[in-house]
Symmetry: C2
Subunit: 271 residues, 2 copies
């Protein structure tokens, strides 16, 4: 592989106006931060990287669970440049990866070049960050972006359909939405089914087995302002829950909230 | 006008399978009951009947407030047969009417023939009962129908846009929806913008100035089962609130929950 591009002051200063290319170069250069709020208008994605012998089972898992695992792209074994990100290198251009051995997290690293193998199949999975800018453009507040935090994510009791060696419950992300704007949040996110679509639960965390809203299982603590209703969307961290539950011999994922920023427009995924 | 058709045992036994014609004949015959749950698949409507000299102001009020006042039909002065209900008589075919004098309720009657004047203009306004069957077909419970009750309705603090002599706050109807099905309720009702469309508030009654959910201003007490989230839709009783607030010299409306059952299919109003 080529050497990492050097970090520059400009590349470290990512925001909504950054291009996907600039963001990926910054991450290739070693920047580690959650990607929420970066590169407005471009779709972000979750990653699942598996040996080819597990790829059919996971592809079937995704096909049976399109709400948490909407596939934007499947890269064939050994391929490192995603079609959704021309010029990118899937081994370096995500800010933070997680390496899994039999369901145990064994490393968290900004560069998986040393782990790469020619039999690895990469699944690029839609992410709810994609509809956050459309929400904000409609006047719906997205509080974790305003606060510069990662979105809170939770394990739930919602079962996923099993497939081969993969089984799991669903992971969800949560956003606090004012009562008068819940309809807009449902409607607008519903236009984006390939990035998780409409919420799976509105209002009652206990309905999906969440006991303690203040302590998410992934990401940062939630921000709920007076009158906010907790709204839950299916989350692309579900494949990581599937890795922990199903214990495949080897897997690499992104770290929660640290996504692949694709070169596809949000609008490309709007129905 | 023709004499009222006689009530029959069959016509009094109205349910989801009744035709709009049979229901209207039963009401013409003197049956008084709320219309929720009757004539599945047919649109129901709110009524506002005003002297022609007030009609422009109200038409403008409806145009400026399409969420609570979606117009399905405006019948010109003196016309008694709605285009949406061939063969019907607007003076007799609604189960219960209210007569208003300078904003005061002066009569509640199943027949307005004695009040009819040739200068009266009738506004036929969409009703949320229209999307209740599509909700139930999608598996979303509609608890007041199951319980055989009228829907609870509330005055709110949401301002309507004023027009001429008409001003008001919005009236809403409320249905308790399980958290996992709120998205479906928003999505499905959103397909029917001309019968109030998607909810105006989800979860927090205080956000729209409702202090006491147990005591609605119109209709029956609410049914909220464990885990239900209160969901609020704009309501066609809003014109009655406008009558009370604006005190026009004369007006006739339906009684809340006692609607005109039209011969139009729900699907005719689906976008």
């Amino acid at each position: 592989m080529e050497p990492h591009a050097p970090s520059t002051a400009a590349s470290l200063d990512l925001d909504a106006d950054s291009t996907p290319e600039a963001a990926r170069l910054a991450f290739r250069g070693g920047l580690v931060r959650p990607t929420c709020g970066i590169a407005k208008g471009y779709a972000q994605a979750n990653l699942m990287i598996l040996p080819k012998e597990l790829a059919f089972d996971f592809l079937l898992f995704a096909q049976r669970n399109p709400k948490p695992c909407p596939l934007l792209e499947v890269m064939e074994a050994g391929v490192t440049e995603p079609a959704t990100c021309p010029g990118a290198d899937i081994r370096t251009d995500v800010p933070l990866y997680r390496v899994w051995d039999h369901g145990e997290l064994v490393a968290e690293t900004p560069d998986i070049t040393d782990y790469w193998r020619d039999d690895l199949v990469t699944f690029v999975i839609g992410c709810s960050f994609t509809f956050e800018f459309p929400l904000m453009e409609a006047g719906v507040p997205v509080r974790h972006i305003t606060a510069g935090r990662n979105v809170p994510m939770y394990d739930t009791s919602i079962p996923c359909a099993s497939a081969g060696r993969f089984h799991s419950t669903m992971v969800v992300s949560m956003r606090g939405i004012p009562s008068r704007q819940v309809s807009d949040a449902v409607r607008i996110s519903g236009y984006y089914p390939s990035v998780h679509g409409a919420p799976v639960c509105v209002g009652d965390p206990a309905a999906i087995g969440i006991d303690d809203l203040d302590h998410p299982d992934y990401g940062d603590a939630p921000i709920l302002e007076e009158g906010d209703i907790p709204v839950f969307w299916a989350c692309g961290v579900t494949p990581q829950a599937a890795v922990m539950a199903s214990r495949p011999a080897f897997a690499i994922t992104h770290a929660p909230g640290h996504m692949l920023i694709t070169s596809k427009r949000d609008l490309d995924y709007m129905v």
